[in-house]
Amino acid sequence: MPTVSVGRDRLFQRLGNDYTQEEFEALCFDFGIELDDVTTETAVIRKQNHQDNEEVGEDEEVIYKIEVPANRYDLLCLEGLARALRIYLGKDEIPVYRVSNIKCENLTKVHVKPETALVRPFVVCAILRGITFDEARYDSFIDLQDKLHQNICRKRSLVAIGTHDLGTVQGPFSYEAQSPEQIKFVPLKQVRSFTADELMEYYKTDNKLKAFLHIIKDSPVYPVIYDSNRTVLSLPPIINGAHSAISLQTRNVFIECTATDLTKAKIVLNMMVTMFSEYCQEKFEVEPVAVVHSDGSTSIYPDLSITNMKVDLSDISGSIGVSLPEQEVIHLLKKMQLHTEESLSQNGKSSIIVSIPPTRSDILHPRDVMEDVAIAYGYNNIPKSKPKCLTMGGRQPLNRFSDKIRAEVSRAGYLEVLTWILCSHEENFSMLKRANAGNAVIIANPRSSEFQVVRNSLMSGLLKTLRHNKDHAKPIKIFEVGDVVIIDESNDVGAANNRRLAALYCNVYSGFEEIMGLVERIMTIVAKPHAKSTEHYYEPSNLAEFFPNRQCSISFKGKKIGNFGIVHPEVLSEFKIQDPCSFLEIDIQSLL
């Protein structure tokens, strides 16, 4: 869940109420956001610099860190958060976002060159006219871009936002893709000009920007936006030019979003303009920009049109479980920024047409509208009911069987352990004197060596557990019932779990007979009633992890289902165990 940092006092001022922290937390809880942390500007800086926490000065501005739902991009800045809460509290009407009425031929144009398709095919733009920044608004403007980049833009890979002082550049603009050495400009925060390939080298050591280089690094052409004087506006998704940088004095802002995903680019552009058109001369009015595609067609952005969604009232009431009259539904939806256009009645079925504003890209289905009604109604106000369906409880036979085996082995005096499925390559193979025979599942992207392989035996888990408890009083008798995973071509995913029992005996002597006694006990109790014999037998085996001539395989109904024996001293030494051990592992799935 993304977190938004807002000044508490500024937020409360906008909400027109001086909440106590408890009151504000309660409001957040009902609305579905969460006050995650309360801090101050200097505390944040101190934390960034890894300084010790000093006392917080009383006059410092208190910052609220608020967690918002991951699909509510309209809550990622103070402006949007305050707007949504004011409407929720009934203090504001739902704003109408509109594009200014300019004839098509007078629109600022962006020409898209066909080469952009090779690297970053989409661009959408808009202009905020007559905007007034102050320090807080400016910071919030920059911050929202950051938040969008981190979330919906997937770290700029899907969408990258560039904002420019329109007064410093001259349209029409052109969106091109050129080879890196052809692109040369002075980037933001620099005084000399770089070619794009120089920049890619230069930013390798930049803590913030190095994370984005991979997006275009291997492309033969890099995306670039020029104005009519060939001034570089930006090298998306890496950096803007210094020339067109916005400042507190900027009055007209040109916003461009380049993307590999057009839907998300449109959403991102809409978020930027709906949030900050609040500060325009004409409040909530945005000047559109014409994007002229290489095939000559034109698209005009932003698309602030309202979408209408038909929602059955019975679906709302029926899914929430509360009977709500139409007027109440309309009132509740209004609190969530959803305006009801009209009511319909057809064949005795009532429905409403709800208009979805461009800020609510999260609404995909009438079910999302139903959720907003439920939130506005209050989840905690919904009367609790009981599902009426009559069903029978039941266990999976394999799991119930496993529990019976567990009970039997613990009755035999063994202590149950629970180890991890993931282990290192070494632990699964070489430490057990085994080679990778290709039947184990291997992880492609382990974060550390602990998570390289999905175990195909329970042995290393028990030996690791013993190692951590080797000073415990002897004898040590431990066991685990759990799944291993084996490559299995007959299964849809190509691998299958196998339920195993493993037991380990450790003492000053090997305890082979103890383990064999346990095997015999298990084989005795799994015999089916009236079966003539238990249908199992032991044969000498020759596995590397066991001591030669001190090991057996277990066969059941003609199938080898497990092994037991004295653990090989070389295996013990790999696990730094000094005492002799006997070990058993058996496929209990075959015994079911």
Partner: protein, 509 residues
Amino acid sequence: MDPAKAAENAILEHLQSHDEIPDSQKFAASSGFDHGVVENVVKSLCGSRTIEANEIKEERWALTDEGKSYVDSGSPEVQFFRALPSEGEILMKDLEKKLDPTVYKVGPSAAVVNKWVTMRKEKREVRGSTKPETIVYVSRKINDVEDKVKDLLQKVEAGEAVDEKDVDALKRRKLVIPQTWRGYSIRKGPEYVLVREKAATDLTREHIQRGDWKQLKFKEYNLSAQVQPIQIGYVQPLLEVKEEIQNIFLQMGFEEMPTNNYVESSFWNFDALFQPQQHPARDSHDTFFLKVPSTTRQLPEDYLERVKQVHQSGGYGSKGYEYDWKRDEAEKNLLRTHTTAVSTRMLYKLAQQKSFVPKRYFSIDRVFRNEAVDRTHLAEFHQIEGLICDRGLTLGDLLGVLEDFFSRLGMTKLRFKPAYNPYTEPSMEIFSYHDGLKKWVEVGNSGMFRPEMLLPMGLPEDVNVIAWGLSLERPTMILYGIDNIRDLFGHKVDFDVIKNNPLCRLGLQ
């Protein structure tokens, strides 16, 4: 007789006629018992309160081996003196053969110092040598001598007082060394008897057969002694809690799902749940993808097509995510990040049946996240999941079933917070008021599965699925007050933690 029994008798007899045995060492020496034996008897008699004993501890002198040898045969100077004839001289050389080497070495000089003997030296020519030879004759000066050294050594051995100067002399000659001395002063105890009855320690088969348990006195138990641990087997605490939660589900009519498939395709883990392909959870930072087997071999084609459509262009009343859905992404194998992948398979199976039957399903099993690990998060943990699938289920039903479920876990005060989850709508986080922590803590997530997830499966339109999930580890850690997850789960768990863990009391209220 057994020396211990003899010593016991001697002590008790002595106390019959005396108030006290002031020194157990002296007593042992005079009665001919080894003090070690006497010491054990004293302890045993104190245990039955027959006697009372005070320990005496002091630094005393003890004889060295050399000193001990002189107690019997006399000091070397006296032995030397006695070896001389009562009258006349004797050649020193002849004495050397008669005496012990130590005595021959030490005795003569001490006897000369004591003025007991005279030495006369005479030079004699040796044939074939220019150097004359010195020969020594010894004779007694006095008729008889007193062996003071031997007397002193005897006194030291018996623990009697000896003059400090004399001790110093003995010490210089290395005949005595200092030693910590331990003994007891002994008096009658409250339960004093002349002959102690031996208290029986245990009731045996012989006692019952002979019937003598009626007369026998049984030794008191020492209840403050440490209790001997018994040899038994133990079950893992986390799995104990798992079992109780399973019981809750069973009582509520839920059927367990088969979750023994850790390897899953992205399709069943994400796509079928209407989780878009660019969703952050599908990042390699969050999910374990597989090198072997890297892709899934088989997917249900018709269903896959419907899933693709609903992502790309919507349908079933949804506008979809409007992006280019890729089959390659869906085929990527992974370790399941949630058991909801299994729920999805189960619901799909349910949708393929001829007529719809309502179901309540549950599972508790392992899931995997490629996230940073810390004291409360591991790369693998257990997810508890419950779901109900039926026509016309409501959000109120979800609240009601959560109330039932969590109250059985001892969480009776619940509140619900709106939340976001890609495959549930509405989504609710579940908070419970914790009396110990005095605050609301998040205990789980819940919601109704999205129509975009259910309808492509082929479930009827009026069927809703309400579901919830939580981890097994978190409530268990809260239950047992464990603050590091590795103390509960994994190979670093201490056996003593497993052995001493109290019963899981869930379901006993």
